[in-house]
Symmetry: C2
């Protein structure tokens, strides 16, 4: 008889992990706080759409649902920057055929739940709030949100995929004698704003790009949805700085702010004032912790163990990669869970910390540097190097279009910073980089010092 496995949280990571385990014949029970989104409609609370990139797709493939999801996904081949005058510039993410994909959080979650639900050895229980786990006994306590019913569930193993404010993690924190934990909030909040389709049902902006309004200390972005709309997201300081959310109170203040910084977006958001006032301002948290497991009985995954800020579009992708890696480890360790969980806990935490750092660093890139000519020049030169030496992969590509461990990508990123610090100070580099023997010399010398990358 296969292990009885309990999954707490049927968000993106929990429902994918449920599919992969059910496929292998484990007895899987999934408890989720919300009601069944297939009946109740999906109530997210968080971003309406997300960018899926290679790490996510690999996991989709493993679950056998890549094609289904791809049909509902919109490729974004680069960033489209909007300056204050409404002028647009485009910056490709990689090659012609490389893209990140805008997917609907609700659509994706429902699809995963639907597929998981086809397995007889898997059962969903909706509306149950996990109150905590008894780690050493691999049992969990639940309360039904409507009836108040209390329930204790025993299992051989528990996976906590209950998100950034994980109840399973809270229990680990108490059960483990030395649990390292940090939660850190940005001084910035975000607010979503709806950009409906045009009257003839088309996208109001180029749908094959991620739109950015970079404004130095803050920014707005927009990702396309399949119904022709976009979801815009404003990232802005909570307080103190000008501008900040706490300085935007009256209609006049809000309109003046948009007129100064996002004039070209005003006609795109018909209910701007109403949405600005009624949509919540949400916070941005980074969670780091270790260890992630209690013996071979409890493991936390996804946002529950490593929530990150959204600026690299890697939160879901890294959670999905958790599933891929664990699934690979099941094969490598022939189903020995003590070994699987130990190996995952041992190798994965540094990668989670690395993508947390990269995501924080990318906020500055997106809100500020993408509008900086030096930054654009670096991108161009990097793309050129990549053409000559395919082994040279720009940092963004390593994170987004490869499966190189995040910690190696971060290290590589630091090394690339050093390379471009040398190159970008060369005289007249803006104009003469193409056939500049000095650029070539610096680059070749740098390449000689680089280790061969682990995977690609």
């Amino acid at each position: 008889m296969k292990d009885r496995i309990l999954i707490v949280g049927a968000g993106l990571v929990g429902s994918l992990w449920a599919v992969l385990l059910a496929k292998r014949g484990y007895q899987v029970e999934v408890f989720e706080l919300r009601n069944d989104p297939r009946k109740a409609g999906f109530k997210g609370g968080r971003s309406i759409n997300l960018a899926m990139s290679d790490r996510g797709w690999k996991a989709m493939e493993r679950a056998g649902i890549k094609d289904t999801i791809r049909q509902q996904a919109i490729p974004m081949r680069g960033r489209k920057m909007h300056d204050t005058a409404g002028q647009l510039t485009f910056q490709p993410y990689g090659d012609q055929d490389q893209a990140i994909y805008s997917v609907s959080r609700g659509g994706l979650n429902i699809e995963l739940i639907d597929i998981a639900d086809q397995y007889d050895n898997l059962k969903f229980h909706f509306g149950y709030k996990c109150l905590g786990v008894v780690a050493e006994e691999a049992k969990a306590h639940f309360e039904h949100r409507d009836t108040g019913e209390h329930l204790t569930v025993n299992a051989d193993r528990i996976f906590g995929t209950d998100g950034a404010f994980s109840a399973v993690r809270r229990s680990l924190m108490k059960a483990l004698p030395r649990f390292n934990y940090s939660q850190s909030f940005l001084d910035y909040g975000y607010k979503e704003l709806h950009i409906p389709p045009t009257t003839d049902g088309k996208h109001a902006l180029d749908p094959n790009a991620l739109h950015i309004w970079p404004r130095g200390q803050f920014m707005m972005i927009a990702l396309p949805n399949v119904d022709g709309s976009f979801t815009g997201t404003l990232f802005l300081a909570y307080e103190g700085q000008t501008p900040a959310f706490d300085q935007l109170n009256t209609d006049e203040e809000i309109m003046a702010f948009f007129q100064t910084y996002f004039a070209d977006a005003i006609p795109l958001i018909p209910n701007l004032l109403e949405e600005f006032r009624e949509n919540p301002t949400s916070s941005l948290i980074t969670i780091r912790c270790s260890p992630w497991r209690y013996e071979d009985k409890v493991l936390i995954m996804g946002d529950a163990s490593h929530a990150i800020v959204p600026f690299y579009g890697q939160g879901m992708n890294s959670g999905f990669e958790d599933c891929t890696l664990l699934d690979e480890l099941i094969d490598a360790h022939d189903g020995n869970w003590a070994e699987i969980i130990e190996a995952f806990n041992h190798s994965r935490i540094k990668d989670a910390n690395a993508i947390a750092d990269l995501a924080l660093r990318n906020f500055i890139e997106m809100r500020d540097k993408v509008a900086d000519p030096k930054f654009l020049l670096r991108k161009e030169i990097a793309a050129h190097f990549n053409k000559i030496y395919p082994e040279f992969l720009p940092l963004y590509s390593q994170v987004t279009f490869s499966h190189i461990p995040y910690s190696e990508a971060l290290e590589e990123g630091h090394a690339q910073d050093a390379l471009f610090e040398e190159i970008l100070v060369l005289d007249g580099i803006e104009h003469n980089w193409k056939d500049n023997p000095e650029v070539d010399r610096i680059f070749r010398k740098w390449m000689q010092g680089r280790p061969v990358l682990a995977t690609s």
Copy 2:
């Protein structure tokens, strides 16, 4: 009528803060988990003695009890290093008249409680465990540890001085929308070992020094007590490395370990095996968080807001400095608590983070570098500079013998590192530093770039 103030936790910081507030005429209620240590005897659970240095003494002076405490304190004028052959070397902390003082945790705590208890406007309640606070209403819930009685206490303001595992902090974490928090454990534990007086009642080692057995990856230290004994503390990895606590199980393993690394200490610890087995192995935690307050209603202080590892001997000292600074702010803001608490929260957190960093860094210094000739040379040259230019204060002196904000000391420490990196690579520096014009030139140039220190 003066504010009603509730203090949660009558440890070192809470009982000192109670004295300072009672002195000013506030209505103070102090709730403490343990029973009255004056009746029950002091049950610490943590280090038996502590090093008090200038920041602590300043607070004692403010409370009017410096002389009383000093009578029970043993000056330690430097480090005495024990090598594996039992050879001793001495390293002064500063001038002849500078010392840190070994004080008894229990004695000091009882003294503070006794003094606080003399005020009619102050009342202690022992045996009450705080279960949490309702921050926005400045009220706290308690449970009596023997009777189980539940009690809710209302106040105008609550100070949480309930230590590293603070219940008040846990409530702030829930009440504040964006509470940044980190708890981080060393992979090292510590174990106390008793070194009794000699048969004629004398100290078995020089009492006017802090003894260190530096062994690279681990160490033992010992501080004197007034009864002629010493308290030794072994700091060692929990597991994995050799040696580590989890490798020391049998009597033979323990004895072999001591024979190899601490041979000269074996005759000093008559009950070595018994103590090693029966005394707990305790963990070492660093806590950082922000903010420290809920409006002007709740403030956490001491270990509750900034627990640090003990390697700089500044945990209690920094908590006592919290009291000094707040007491100064009461004067500066004429008792306006909203301003006092905001000013403290605004300026003090960076200093707490700095001493946390310094304490972590000092572990490596104590267990490893104090045995390194280059390090000793640096100390000597620094002392020499300090004689010529009294404005040049070695980092250790800034932390221990000054009231310079910790964050400035940390910065100064980094700058001094850079200075000595230049000096210590000079040819023949071991022998020729005294009248070396190059050393002088480097030093003078460096001094020109230094800011004038804030306070001293």
